[in-house]
Point group: C2
Chain length 335, copies 2
């Protein structure tokens, strides 16, 4: 099943970036967002995405698809093969939106929710045809980071998950199927753990926001852009490997090293502290500056990973390689 | 204070890599390790480090220093300006080793411990001259990753911490001073939080070791190699910035998204599962292969970051730029 027409329901930072990924991959996209400034916001995301996509690959790029703002969910989804919902994270709202999508979408449309934590079983609960609905959770910036976590609900059809897998690959992504439905899936559970610990460290003045970021970017950040937690620790275990690592470091797990039993109060004092330190860290760089710096760096990393191992590629670079091969094949078919 | 002579007490993966960093930066290093295979292990680390250092920079490199294995702590430290202790993580052992260092080291030597969790106040408790002792906690691979967390104990002299800061910068590192002594400092607290959450996800079969790693390397790993948690979330907050982000996402903090109240039992079943899945993930790549792939990728990322923003550098790339300027200045002075 080849995706040709797409719909984006919700056009914030995430929905707008989905629309950009669709359009830059030659797919028409109808987008619905009731926000009065939706067109401006999506326009800005699209500009950044176009800039990044230009530098991402020299493979032949398809003619961009057409982006159309429409005034209702029904008009957005009626002819779409792939529908991506990215509305705010409130279950009642998601359920209502998915009922509207459900009523207007074609029978074999794929319906993905960008939720970063709600369960697909709950979101699909009130749908007539829930078997085509699943979670497809992306990471910001959606137009560059390849990961999409695919999570099925109790009533999702495994065949729809297979189709979704292929559809997201078609637009250059790396789908990873989560084996069991669980709040926050995998990536956000890990992020949540780090976020909680970080809040304690700032609250207790162990370090500032900028020092904590420096610590991440100058150490394990450089590891995790190319090898995850387990592969990294496999190496740390040396010749004896993973088992040795766990046996050596396992015992420290019982020390009271984290404060994660509790969550710090997000009171005004802590919010002020973090916001103030964050302003200092950013200096005179605005959000758009930071976004472009981030995007350029990620593109650079993806090129390093694509060219790794004498061009065989590594990690996210392999996803980029496959994507380029697909683009080339498509261009050859067009001729 | 310019460091000329160094000592490495302990020559495992960490101690050996310190020795490599010292020697490749033109500093003589005397190393002590009672392990019967210490010379072989250090030799292998040195080979990897030399390979990586060659490709790290085109700046003029100093003539490598001399590495000497010596049969006692006393002989290693007696003439050293900078002494790096990297023995196993047992407080009694660290205390004993630091008493030996204390008795034999010159008065103004700097004494850093590589401990990843023990408190400097405890390690220095039995020293006669503890003011020159502090924690200098590096990250593997020590010869490439720039971060070193500097932590003073109750009896550390602030002037010694300043000297240490300059000494680690001299060998191309990014020292970050931790403001208060705390178990596991900052980086390892964050890593511990991720590790615990990851163990739950594997134990409960939400994903495999390889899937979890893929999720990290295809999403936030690419973010954290260049912007930390807070800078990334500042962008996620959009034009309204950090305060908006916290207000928007703060509430999810109270959901029971993590299981971090408990630590899973590291029983044989869980160790077997992780070790088995890790073997599958590695395929036919041995530890040395993985190390070289990792090192090449990190060097590539550091080059991307050095050249970022039209050559002004970004994040760990700035540390590399300063280092290259220092190497050039040293070469100019030599002429």
């Amino acid at each position: 099943m080849i995706i040709k027409k797409t719909a984006a329901i919700g056009g914030g930072v995430i929905g707008g970036a989905w629309a950009a990924r669709f359009v830059l991959n030659g797919l028409d996209c109808k987008i619905f967002d009731p926000h009065p400034e939706a067109e401006r916001i999506v326009g800005e995301v699209m500009a950044n995405a176009t800039r990044a996509f230009d530098s991402l690959t020299d493979a032949p790029k398809p003619e961009p698809g057409k982006l159309t703002f429409v005034p209702s969910i029904e008009e957005a989804v009626e002819a779409a093969d792939l529908i991506q919902e990215s509305v705010p994270e409130r279950l009642e709202l998601k359920q209502k939106v998915h009922m509207q999508i459900d009523a207007a979408a074609s029978e074999d449309a794929l319906i993905g929710s960008s939720t970063s934590g709600l369960l697909p079983t709950d979101i699909q609960a009130k749908m007539m045809a829930p078997e085509r609905m699943f979670v497809a959770h992306p990471y910001n910036p959606v137009y560059l980071l390849p990961l999409v976590e695919i999570v099925g609900g109790a009533r999702s059809d495994p065949a729809a998950l297979d189709h979704a897998h292929a559809a997201y690959e078609q637009i250059g992504m790396k789908p990873v199927r989560i084996r069991k439905e669980i709040d926050a899936f995998v990536g956000d559970r890990l992020l949540e753990a780090v976020w909680r610990e970080a809040l304690w460290l700032i609250r207790d003045d162990i370090c500032t926001v900028e020092e904590l970021d420096d610590i991440m970017t100058h150490s394990f950040g450089l590891r995790w852009a190319q090898m995850g937690l387990f592969q990294t620790y496999r190496i740390a275990g040396g010749e004896a490997g993973m088992r040795h690592f766990i046996e050596q470091f396992g015992p420290t797990m019982s020390l009271p090293w984290t404060k994660l039993m509790d969550v710090p109060d997000l009171d005004d004092a802590l919010i002020d502290k973090i916001a103030g330190q964050s302003d200092e860290q950013a200096g005179d760089l605005g959000i758009r500056d930071l976004e472009r710096i981030r995007d350029d760096n990620i593109v650079g990393f993806l090129h390093v990973l694509r060219d790794a191992r004498n061009g065989r590629g590594w990690s996210a670079g392999k996803a980029l390689k496959s994507y380029e091969e697909r683009l080339k094949a498509m261009a050859a078919n067009d001729v």
